[in-house]
Structure formats: C-alpha cells, structure tokens
C-alpha cells in the first residue's frame, strides 16, 4: 500500500480515537490547581449547633482526613450524604465539613434532618474559604494528608465506586507516606 493511501486513513483513525476519548471525559471536571499544594490558611467558626469549627491547623494534626464541601441548598449533597454517614460510623477516615455559603439555621436544620457525619464543620458564610480552595460546584471533597497537603479532589457527589476506587485508595496512600 502506498503512503498516500495509508496516511489519510491513519490520520482519520488517530483523530477518531482522540475525539472518542474526549467524548468520554466530563467537561465539568476541571483539574484542581491545588493538588499537592498546602490547604489555604483559614479559621472558620463552627456550623450553628456544633462544638468544633474547622481551621487549616486542624488539617495539619497528623491525621489523614476528608474535607467535604456541602450546603443545605445543594441537592447533590443529599445524594452522597448516606455514604458520608457510613464513613463516619465505620470510622474508616475522618470527615470534616466545609459549609459553603449557607444560612446558619438552614445548615443546622439540614444536619439535624439528614444526620451529621462531620467531626468538625466550619461555616464559610461568605464563600471566601471555598474560593481559596478553588471550589466551584458543591459538593466537592478533598483528601488532605496529615500535614495539610491536598492529595485529591473529587468534584460532585461521591458515588460508592468513587469511594472505593479513588478516595479510599488516596487515603491509604497518604497514610502509607506518613
């Protein structure tokens, strides 16, 4: 076969594969600029009705933890909530909450109604800490190693498969590296 015959077919095949892969990607998932970077400096008061707020120093205390960005107005947050409750119950990993742009009474009622999986939960009423974390769509979940370094960001509700294939392996890896 001559090059003139093979080349167009090869170019077409390469394009088809590249574009085909592109179709399976989720355009909503924007790579985080904060992976492998330290968490932003912050110190948030607790969500109404909870004793412990959340600050960057809490994420540097040596324990690998999840930081889950949630809000009472966020519908998808309810989807992942049973999974977080399960994590809190089985204590497989510590879960902290970042309550993003929420009214205190709404957040309190939401946690009372659906359950409270959070060891600590900071109230980010203005959304500034969320922006420092690069949050653009709630829910988002960060895996933070014990030294306050972000090792993974999950965008959207956590599905059981995400937990098993992405989040818990990242937790295990961060623990192993300590």
């Amino acid at each position: 076969m001559r090059l003139g015959t093979v080349l167009p077919i090869a170019i077409f095949a390469a394009l088809a594969v590249a574009l085909g892969v592109g179709l399976t990607l989720n355009p909503r998932e924007i790579p985080s600029a904060l992976i492998d970077k330290p968490v932003p400096e912050f110190d948030l008061p607790p969500v109404a009705g909870k004793p412990l707020g959340l600050a960057s120093r809490d994420l540097k205390a040596g324990e690998v933890a999840l930081v889950n960005v949630f809000a009472s107005w966020c519908v998808a947050c309810r989807e992942e909530h049973p999974l977080l409750m399960e994590l809190a119950r089985t204590k497989r990993v510590a879960v902290h909450g970042l309550n993003y742009k929420d009214a205190p009474s709404d957040a309190q009622r939401w946690l009372a109604e659906w359950g409270d999986p959070y060891a600590r939960a900071g109230a980010d009423r203005s959304g500034r800490v969320g922006i420092d974390f690069g949050v653009y769509g709630v829910p988002e979940t960060f895996v933070v190693d014990g030294h306050g370094r972000i090792v993974l960001k999950h965008i959207g509700p956590i599905m059981p498969a995400d937990l098993e294939t992405k989040i818990l392996p990242a937790v295990a890896k961060a623990r192993a590296q300590r």
């Binding site: 355009p27 924007i30 790579p31 985080s32 600029a33 742009k101 922006i131 690069g134 653009y136 769509g137």
Partner: protein
C-alpha cells in the same frame, strides 16, 4: 393624546433598560480607571459554573464573588498580572479564557501553524505530481492499438 404617547414611550424606554441593570449589579470601584481595569480582567476570566461565559457576563453566585475579589485585589494595589495570578492560583489556568502558552498548551497554539504547513506540503506534492504527469511523453501506441483506434474512429465517422 400626545402626552399619553410620550408617557408610553418613557415607560417603554424604562422597561427596555431593565436588562441593562441585570449585569453590573455589583457596586463599581470609586476610581473609574481601576473599575475599567476590573472589567477588563472580568472579561478574561472564565465563569467556572457556566464555563463558556466570562465572569463579566455571568450572574452565577461564584462569578459575582470572583468579580468582588478582583475589585478587592485591585483596590489593595495589585497589578493586573497579580490579580489574575490570585485567581489562577486557586482555579488553575483553566479560568483563563485565553490559554497561556506553556508545555501543556504548546500543541494547541502550534496546531494552526502545523496544519498550514501540512496543507502547503500536500498542495505542493499534488501540484508537482500533476506537472510531472503533464510533462511526461506518452508511450507511442503499438501497431495493434493504432489499428484498433483507426477502426473506432472510422466507425464513428459519418
């Protein structure tokens, strides 16, 4: 009658102007020069919620917050690059509507030049082949072919 018409015109003008208020709901900076810089930066930053709009064009909550932050940074004395850097540090190069030239985007920026070069090479090779074909002297017909040709022409002749 004329007065009613005028009242209607005024009412129409006011209503028509309402969409203009929909954007720029946030309070502008007191210094017009700084405000103009803020608007230019807003236009260059992508809204992360609505993806194909700039934060200038979007009224998503996050876009409003980011507009406010840009104004704050400008008032704090940051230059344009510092303000953009502040947002990029949090959201990555993705927020820039005009992607920067770096290793990851080299192919993106280089693609037009590569495609034009490929096109030139293709067109030239076609051209060269055509010319070679046109210039080549055809092999003379064999006696058998010539006879057949004469017969065909002879048949067609009236």
């Amino acid at each position: 009658m004329r007065r009613i018409a005028r009242a209607l015109w005024i009412a129409f003008a006011v209503l028509a102007a309402v969409p203009a208020f929909a954007l720029g709901v946030d309070p502008p900076l007191p210094d017009p020069g700084q405000e103009a810089r803020a608007i230019e930066i807003h236009k260059a930053l992508r809204c992360l919620v609505c993806q194909n709009q700039s934060i200038h064009d979007s009224n998503a909550g996050l876009a409003v917050d980011l507009r406010r932050i840009v104004r704050e940074r400008i008032q704090a004395g940051d230059d344009d690059a510092q303000v953009v850097g502040y947002v990029v540090a949090r959201y990555g190069d993705w927020v820039l509507l005009k992607p920067p030239l770096n290793v990851k985007t080299a192919l993106l920026w280089g693609a037009p030049a590569i495609l034009i070069l490929l096109g030139i090479v293709t067109v030239r090779s076609f051209h060269r082949r055509n010319r070679a074909l046109a210039a080549a002297t055809p092999t003379p017909l064999s006696t058998h072919e010539r006879k057949r040709l004469e017969r065909l022409i002879g048949e067609d002749a009236p």
